[in-house]
Symmetry: C2
Subunit: 226 residues, 2 copies
């Protein structure tokens, strides 16, 4: 399947490479293609600059946000949450159409230092804001509660014995995204309901960040144990 | 040890009975002792009215908030979060002193129907508000992320293989509370830091409530899988 990913950061790189490895044809969209391909500065999360990364991943196409949105049958929002709506606006409602958008992003405010503040609360969320701004999109919120490497390889944590949450308004879209999740090794896929459930999963980020501080770089994830 | 519990609801009943069963001497504090002891209306969570419950638990003392606060060497805030500060004010700063207060409460707003809204966000929390209002208290936030029956019996969920979070400003207080947690079967006790970490654990409630909707009354709990 053709998949368009918005965002060249760690999540875009890791998810893009993983989808390509599963046989999908992937285009990563960016604000400025030439600038992204020329970048050589590491992004601070242990991943290479996108330009260097792409030299090793030339099977992955690179285009503008609009080109990636047009290219993909399914889209992935892997932008930084505070820039997601701007990126989607640059992609354009016509190109986004009524496609499935997998929204992985979190609104994290790094302006006051580390750990960043998570801006979601129990009255609003990024997932809903995207759905409201683009009512034809089939927004499916998932994968935002774990590190990029765990997203694409559930087996990294306790032999795959942890939970991925999913929510959205369209049952068929959630079923389609669940197939992608299964291809990444997920079997405990917990459907929390419509897109308003994005509030709840975006509100997990502060405990995720605190846990990261306790555990360090060992892979970990939320599990709903029962 | 003498333990004073503020709150006659499900959490106060279950935690009080469990602490008494471990050999502690427990006094439950309430706004109006006579009214609580005379109550016969079920509280809506499948627990009997306090008055009926207490007939079967007469080894547990009942007093005012002030009497329970004075009685306990360690205190437990098991009030409804929206009423916690009022209850603590009725208990009185002199009676609270510099004791350890285990804060289990969550601010849940039921005024807009079910599920309730969780009022914590990444700028404030009830745990911190209590610590600010009573700076001498050693507030330890824990156990607020699970049902009452799981709080006192970790083995109910996956043979005890789930996580309890703890945070607070005083290391000795956290160590003392950890011993109580161990007596309830907890071994994965994750210290998330000072009292500001209450924000993060109070923000777990929306996913807890959504998960409850999915799973039903089977015991479940958060686990940080790794």
């Amino acid at each position: 399947m053709n998949i368009g990913i918005l965002g060249t950061g760690m999540v875009g790189q890791v998810v893009g490479a993983a989808l390509a490895a599963k046989g999908h044809t992937v285009m990563i969209g960016t604000r400025d293609v030439q600038k992204s391909l020329a970048s050589t500065e590491p992004n601070g999360y242990g991943m290479p600059a996108f330009g260097l990364w792409h030299k090793d991943n030339q099977h992955i196409k690179v285009g503008t946000f609009a080109e990636a949105a047009k290219f993909g049958e399914v889209l992935v929002n892997a932008t930084s949450g505070l820039g997601s709506l701007e990126a989607l606006n640059m992609a354009g409602a016509d190109n986004l159409g009524s496609k499935v958008l997998i929204d992985i992003a979190n609104e994290l405010d790094f302006s006051k230092g580390m750990p960043p503040r998570a801006l979601a609360n129990d009255t609003r969320s990024l997932g809903e804001d995207i759905q409201t701004a683009f009512p034809n999109l089939k927004v499916v919120k998932t994968l935002n509660t774990m590190s990029a490497f765990v997203m694409v390889n559930a087996a990294l944590v306790d032999n795959g014995n942890s939970t991925v949450f999913i929510n959205g308004n369209d049952a068929n879209a959630k079923a389609q995204v669940s197939e992608i999740l299964k291809s990444f090794g997920w079997h405990d896929i917990m459907d929390l309901g419509d897109i308003t459930a994005s509030r709840s999963v975006e509100m997990l980020l502060p405990v995720w960040l605190k846990s990261w501080g306790v555990i360090g770089n060992t892979p970990f994830n939320f599990k709903i144990a029962r």
